[in-house]
């Protein structure tokens, strides 16, 4: 059993991320890279981009999960040690994006999650970061929310239009 709170505490000052692209248009991906560069410099939080999912504490997930990339994505996620913490970036990953219902995609992370469950790959915590593309600050904010260092600002809202 994974003690999530403990695991999150352990990586608070040292967050190694692996970037996993499931067929995105590259815009989110270059923003992930951009977050490393001088103006945003995520290294000041101890964030480091690593080259293997085995070294990763958090996976930065982009793309709508195309049919072709699906098996490889599952495999990369399986290679990641528990706890599996995911930051799902961009409108493709979060909601399937503009191509959410085409023949060539799976429709984003929520569908992938079902397939992962079928395949016995458990995911311990997911934070969704909308954006098209996600700007570097949104990625930073997402990381902080994932670690519990920042408050989530959005809430589900349902308002009735005033009646006549």
């Amino acid at each position: 059993m994974v003690d999530l709170a403990r695991a999150l505490r352990a990586i608070k000052r040292s967050i190694w991320v692996y970037h996993l692209n499931s067929g995105s248009c590259n815009a989110c991906d270059i923003e992930v890279l951009d977050a490393l560069t001088p103006y945003f410099d995520v290294e000041r939080f101890g964030v480091k981009l690593v080259g293997s999912p085995r070294h990763a504490d958090v996976i930065l997930f982009t793309g709508p999960v195309t049919r072709e990339s699906l098996p490889k994505v599952v495999r990369a996620l399986r290679a990641m040690p528990r706890p599996r913490l995911l930051l799902v970036l961009g409108s493709c990953g979060v909601g399937g994006g503009i191509w959410w219902d085409t023949y060539a995609t799976t429709g984003g992370f929520s569908k992938l999650e079902e397939i992962l469950r079928e395949q016995g790959v458990e995911v311990d915590r997911v934070v969704y970061v909308p954006g098209c593309p996600v700007r570097p600050e949104a990625i930073i904010y997402g990381i902080l929310v994932l670690l519990g260092l920042a408050e989530q600002k959005v809430r589900e809202v349902e308002v009735h239009a005033p009646g006549g």
Binding site: V129, A138, V157, H160, A161, G164
Partner: protein, 171 residues
Amino acid sequence: MSLVKILEIALKTGRVTRRYPAEEPLVTPEFRGSIEVDPSKCWGCGACVKVCPPNALTLTPSGKSLVLEYFVGRCIFCGMCAEVCPAKAITVTKKFELASANLRDLRSRVVHEVLRCSVCGTPIAAEAEVRAVVKASPVSEEYAVLCPRCRKERFAKSIGLRVGAPGGGPS
């Protein structure tokens, strides 16, 4: 040895890092973030839904109401909805701090009462839309609360024509 010049450049430039979140983000006044629908202005007409490229905005009937849902998780932040909205109910904000631990919190809804035809009870449109139409055009309230079929019928009757069989609708 011009490769050492990188040190000179670095010294001259200093540190450019924005200490977001402690400092302001690098956002310009033109930035398009998530949208907000003002429920007091929204008609529930669905113009935004028709234009939304990724279907982040949807209008679905649910029981007695019509629900306009905005799923920011699929939004592409193009702002076309705000441009086409006839009621100017949609504003494009500069919000980008939208991270959420679940998909539910990425949805916001405006629930509209559906107006039913005062004769046959068929749902016509959102009440707010009908009110807006009545306000904007000289359609009398009497006609506005009818479904297209009954409206036609009543109109036909009013100018003295019989449409279809007695007591029946148009054929």
